[in-house]
């Protein structure tokens, strides 16, 4: 404004100087105006020069077309032709491109897991497979096998325990920032780009299914360049909550979850409630979900809490192997 209106009695000028009405008579004021005016002119000059250089650069770049056309698939599934010289490596955004998809889930699916307790020998292969892919330390469990004895008269058994992906999830209810959410396919996920680390979800979860990155996650330095994938929750981030994801990334590829595939003993069935079919991760046998649960008296953990888990358990009957006591604590300290 000041540069465009050099006359000091211009109304705009008056307005600008309302704080110090004497300034317009002050010689210092007028030198400052001149100074600003000069800067303004210099600025216009620089901008014009830059624009000229830039358009020249574009013109030069255009000449460098190779004529070699590549056919590419865009994110929304369209085929496009691009000159090979135009193809550039994508800038790192820090957030996965699948953020929106990761929040919605896979349409038409209702994922469900059945854990057959009569088969679990505490091989802990599910645990290591899960920890490897999710960049977890040995004491950080998305999936943990617990040794349970309900009463002194009943036999102890091994119980793999992961997030129950409840249909009435107490964790999602209490989250203050929508960092943890329930998807249409039944999966409960955590977005560690959003998580503020208040740990209310951990306090609310009756299954102790959630873990926290108390310190810098395992091998964090090796993963700094990795884009965040909300369906895998890697790279893990210090100060945020992590949890079992039902291997949402694998389900998108039409594969079984990591833990389910890793089990050597046929403990896990995984599938789609809508199809009423679950597949055993070891034998790859597909059975009817409703029949499996009915024939084997399937049940849920802590159903009285009304959380409506999506993980079912088959009772630990007819076990043909010895039970080992719970081993205490992995040695590594966090």
């Amino acid at each position: 404004m000041r540069i465009l209106n050099p006359t000091s009695n211009h109304p705009m000028e008056e307005h600008n100087h309302s704080h110090s009405p004497h300034e317009s008579e002050d010689p210092k004021g007028s030198t400052r105006r001149n100074f600003l005016k000069n800067i303004g002119l210099a600025g216009v000059g620089v901008a014009t020069g830059a624009a000229a250089l830039y358009s020249g650069h574009i013109f030069e770049a255009k000449k460098e077309m190779s004529g070699d056309q590549k056919v590419l698939l865009t994110q929304d599934g369209k085929l496009v032709q691009v000159d090979s010289l135009e193809i550039k490596a994508m800038e790192k955004t820090g957030v996965a491109l699948h953020e929106a998809e990761g929040r919605e889930g896979i349409a038409g699916r209702r994922w469900v897991m059945v854990t057959d307790l009569s088969k679990c020998r505490n091989a802990r292969k599910c645990i290591s497979a899960c920890q490897d892919v999710h960049q977890l330390r040995p004491e950080q469990y998305h999936m943990n096998t617990l040794q349970i004895q309900d009463s002194p008269a009943t036999a102890p058994f091994n119980m793999p325990k992961n997030c129950q992906h409840c249909d009435n999830p107490p964790c999602v209810a209490v989250c203050p920032v929508d960092a943890t959410y329930k998807r249409q396919d039944g999966i409960v996920l955590i977005d560690n780009v959003r998580c503020i680390g208040c740990r209310f979800c951990m306090a609310a979860c009756p299954y102790s299914a959630r873990i926290f990155n108390w310190i810098e996650p395992k091998d964090a330095a090796n993963h700094v360049d990795q884009d965040y994938n909300v369906e895998l929750n890697v790279p893990q981030k210090v100060g945020t909550v992590s949890k079992c994801l039902f291997s949402a990334d694998r389900l998108r590829e039409g594969k079984l979850p990591y833990c389910v595939e890793a089990c050597p003993n046929g403990v896990y069935y995984f599938g789609d409630e809508n199809e009423d079919a679950v597949t055993n991760g070891t034998t790859k046998e597909t059975v009817r979900l409703s029949k499996l649960l009915r024939d084997n008296a399937g049940y849920q953990l802590l159903p009285e809490l009304g959380t409506k888990p999506r993980v079912y358990y088959l009772p630990p009957k007819n076990r043909l192997f010895p039970f080992e006591e719970a081993t205490e604590a992995t040695p590594e300290k966090a």
């Binding site: 004491e139 209490v174 503020i196 609310a204 102790s208 926290f212 100060g239 992995t330 040695p331 966090a334």
Partner: protein, 442 residues
């Protein structure tokens, strides 16, 4: 009564209630000590910022530790402003006048710091703004943020409004002030000249604030209790948690007010204004709220103890006879039952004994929050297995303890500053009650 008849009296009240308003050596030493201590604690917090919450003893099972116990304690202590000023004030208890500002100062200090305490418990404090950007109104944390902010603003206004007249007096009559401070009082006094219209506006505003303060205060601690009560964990899954927390808050706050009264009376020589009667009455208030709290304690422990549902049984076993038993009984007997018994007798409601009782009550109140927050998490529904020992049993680290001390230092700094630069006892109100209807300003 005219001003001239009371000239001496008014001058005496003014000098009695404002003679501490000066920057002296003791004040500087005390503030220096607090500042250095705060810096040490802030260094500990910087370690937590750079390393992660892992520098504290909290882990995946006991995920809320000292910081959250501290938060509950600070919210609790801040509630006293509402009890003293609003509840007792509105039902017309005249003896309260010299105590109201102490109560409001404590309310403002603790409410302001409670907000900071909760930030120290965040894994990602730099994402604090997300609570406002992406806030889900379904989460009790949002309710807590809303009501604590509201309560803090109301309390701050309630501290400020009765001070307007006082600052007009200080600006004109107090000569011990450094010259650079005088204009501050002039600005803050908002040109108050003790006109009837001015007093009418202030009194009406105060009355509206007092009424608004009651639901706001009830909300802050009820909502804070819901952070626990909305979960299904044994020990938290309770329908009396709201009133249980609110009554406990009155106990902690009353004790804090009595301790503050004792020290202001001694250090600022206010024996003529904070008399034995005030300590006696505050002792009765503390005894009454302690009895209410005892009633809720009986409800909170007897009812689940009678049924002994599986998870409740484990929780109560730990509290009554297990790992936490010593602390539990020390808090319940030493911080609740014995104080109630003592306070039934007049001689224990004299200044020194009631102050000592209040110290015991306040310390117990802090440990009570610890017992509410931590033991519940040590026995979840499913067993804790295959994790390191420090995941199974919570023990706070030194860094965590230092970070937990910081808010106490901050509260002391705030209370010290307010009480040093403003009359601890409402000056204008006291003068009015002594029969001085109108103060003539030169």
């Amino acid at each position: 009564m005219t001003m001239d008849d009371n000239k001496l009296t008014f001058d005496k009240i003014t000098s009695d209630l404002t003679h501490h308003i000066r920057i002296n050596k003791g004040f500087l030493i005390w503030m220096g000590f607090l500042t250095v201590s705060l810096l040490v604690c802030l260094y500990a917090y910087s370690l937590q910022l750079s390393t992660g919450l892992g520098v504290a003893g909290i882990r995946d099972y006991v995920t809320w530790g000292l910081y959250l116990a501290n938060f509950v304690f600070f919210v609790a202590a801040s509630l006293i402003g509402m009890l003293i000023s609003a509840v007792l004030g509105l039902i017309g208890m005249k003896w309260l006048t010299p105590i109201t500002r102490i109560a409001e100062t404590i309310a403002v200090a603790f409410a302001a710091v409670a907000g900071l305490v909760i930030v120290s418990d965040m894994g990602r404090p730099e994402r604090l703004a997300y609570v406002f950007l992406y806030g889900r109104p379904q989460s009790p944390i949002l309710w807590d943020v809303t009501v604590i902010t509201t309560y803090f603003v109301l309390s701050l206004l309630l501290l400020f409004l009765p001070m307007i007249a006082d600052m007009a007096i200080i600006h004109r009559k107090v000569s011990t002030l450094p010259s650079w401070l005088k204009p501050v009082y002039k600005v803050l006094s908002l040109n108050f000249t003790d006109q009837p219209e001015q007093n009418k506006i202030i009194n009406r505003a105060i009355r509206i604030l007092l009424i608004l303060l009651i639901p706001a205060a009830l909300s802050i601690h009820t909502v804070t209790s819901w952070l626990f009560a909305v979960t299904s964990r044994a020990g938290w899954d309770s329908t009396v948690f709201g009133p249980y927390f609110v009554s406990g808050a009155f106990v902690a706050g009353s004790a804090a007010v009595i301790i503050a009264m004792f020290f202001f009376r001694k250090n600022y020589k206010l024996q003529d204004y904070l008399t034995d009667v005030h300590f006696n009455n505050m002792g009765k208030v503390l005894a009454t709220v302690s009895l209410v709290y005892l009633y809720f304690n009986i409800n909170e422990f007897l009812v689940p103890g009678y049924k002994l549902k599986r998870a409740d049984a484990i929780h109560l076993q730990e509290l009554f006879a297990g790992k936490d038993a010593l602390l539990f009984w020390a808090v319940q007997i030493g911080g609740l039952l014995l104080p109630i018994l003592f306070m039934l007798f007049r001689r224990f409601r004299k200044p020194l004994p009631i102050m000592l009782i209040s110290v015991a009550v306040l310390i117990a109140a802090w440990f009570k929050r610890y017992l509410i927050v931590i033991p519940t998490q040590e026995h979840p529904f499913l067993p804790i297995q295959h994790v390191p020992q420090n995941f199974v049993h919570y023990s706070p680290t030194l860094i965590e303890i230092l970070i937990s001390i910081a808010p106490f230092i901050l509260v002391l700094i705030i209370i010290t500053l307010i009480s040093k630069f403003f009359p601890v006892i409402p000056l204008h109100e006291t003068a009015r009650e002594k029969g001085i209807d109108h103060i003539k300003f030169d």
